[in-house]
Symmetry: C3
């Protein structure tokens, strides 16, 4: 599998906010701006975003993830990972997964547990579909930042391993880790 | 979903001890008293217990959990979570689950690992069925206490989110955590 | 279930290196020697090894694990646990499992995370099949050692509980933990 040259083509990243109420206009969505801002601060690459705001409907979430995984190397979702009846983001993500990466769920919860004991209730998962890494993040902008700060160091090498573009991080935000054999610069 | 008024109605909690030998009378069950004692010390609410002592039979465990989840907001099991052939509590719990909450298993093992390295062998899970949160606890009274001390802070808010009664903890035993927007007092 | 007397019969242990390239002779396999060396240093028991070097083919891995689980009390695999398309060791291991022990995957990743942030990408699992405990280890000899150092204390009691031989560790390498009731010496 050939990695795409980061210098020539922007890395395409899907961001998906999953919320009945934000979709219905009951409140303003803060998930998409939080994801976009963090990624723009963290990555050197030129980025092209595919943004979606959708309701907590498992079928809609599955279709959205299937579509985004076709062209994106990374998809981050926010919302819908709690224990309530309408929280079905993890179910949708697992349903369209080729491989599950349990370390992401474990580590995202471990990171959030440093801030709130109720992080234990979060059901976030990380999966691979084709050449796309999909990660469920929490719903609150503050928790999105805390979680990405805590786990993103492993994302660029994960994207390498599934045939995606070479992501480069800004070391003042997060320091990507790769084994020496996988480093280009 | 309307939460039940804690002040008027006791919170109904299922406690289930799963052990071939205690069921056969080979030894005295210590699981049910350990669960009941801990809950009475930890919660302010009036409590109504549904207690069951049953054998390590997957079908029996499933039926017991299905029945208790009808009327209880919380079901705690003890026993049957090890790697031995007759240990089938996690299988039974997963079989009747609507949603799995992986954070409970992870965190219960992380808590127990502070005491014994063999906590890694425990296969405890936490799940939601309908409006009931079901948690598998270890078999030993000492480990039951250690585990509940370590994870119960997240249980009241978890019960809120699935439409259960407002559980209030005694802060000398455990301090329930809720986001500000979910606090009533 | 009668445990076999460790003094009379060697403990039979399966070691499996899973790698397309080592199988094709592109490079020398370092996984089998790393597993064997660690086990010989860690265990007092006389040991009889069943060693296999196989490609990253799910069917081949499954058949190998099924065969080894017939006669071995413990099978350790190395390789094939990453997120890449050809990494299918966890899928094969789960496919032939009687019981999954999620604590092993969680704790192996937690141990490796102390060394490299990309440990989050590892999908290792631990399972029981019949009377055999099967653990997926990382691919690199250094990571094999770090992981076994970090989790093996729980393995002898795990093997006890599924009816295997009484494994005794050398305390300068790792100190096996058993509850007092399970200790023989």
């Amino acid at each position: 599998m050939q990695n795409q040259p980061a210098a020539y083509e922007p890395a395409r990243i899907g961001i998906v906010s999953i919320s009945d109420r934000a979709t219905a206009g009951v409140y303003e969505d803060k998930g998409l701006p939080a994801l976009k801002d963090w990624l723009e601060r963290a990555l050197h690459n030129a980025l092209s975003f595919e943004a979606r705001l959708i309701a907590d409907e498992q079928g809609v979430i599955e279709q959205t993830l299937i579509e985004l995984a076709e062209s994106c190397c990374l998809v981050l979702t926010t919302g819908g990972t709690g224990p309530a009846l309408r929280d079905v983001t993890p179910e949708a993500t697992l349903a369209i997964a080729d491989k599950v990466l349990p370390g992401f769920g474990e580590q995202m919860r471990a990171v959030s547990l440093k801030y709130v004991p109720t992080a234990i209730l979060s059901r976030q998962v990380g999966v691979v579909r084709g050449r796309c890494l999909i990660l469920n993040l929490p719903g609150q902008p503050k928790a999105i930042k805390e979680t990405l700060d805590g786990i993103f160091a492993a994302v660029p090498y994960g994207v390498d391993l599934i045939g995606g573009p070479y992501l480069e991080t800004r070391s003042d935000v997060v320091q990507a880790f790769r084994p020496a054999s996988a480093r280009r610069y």
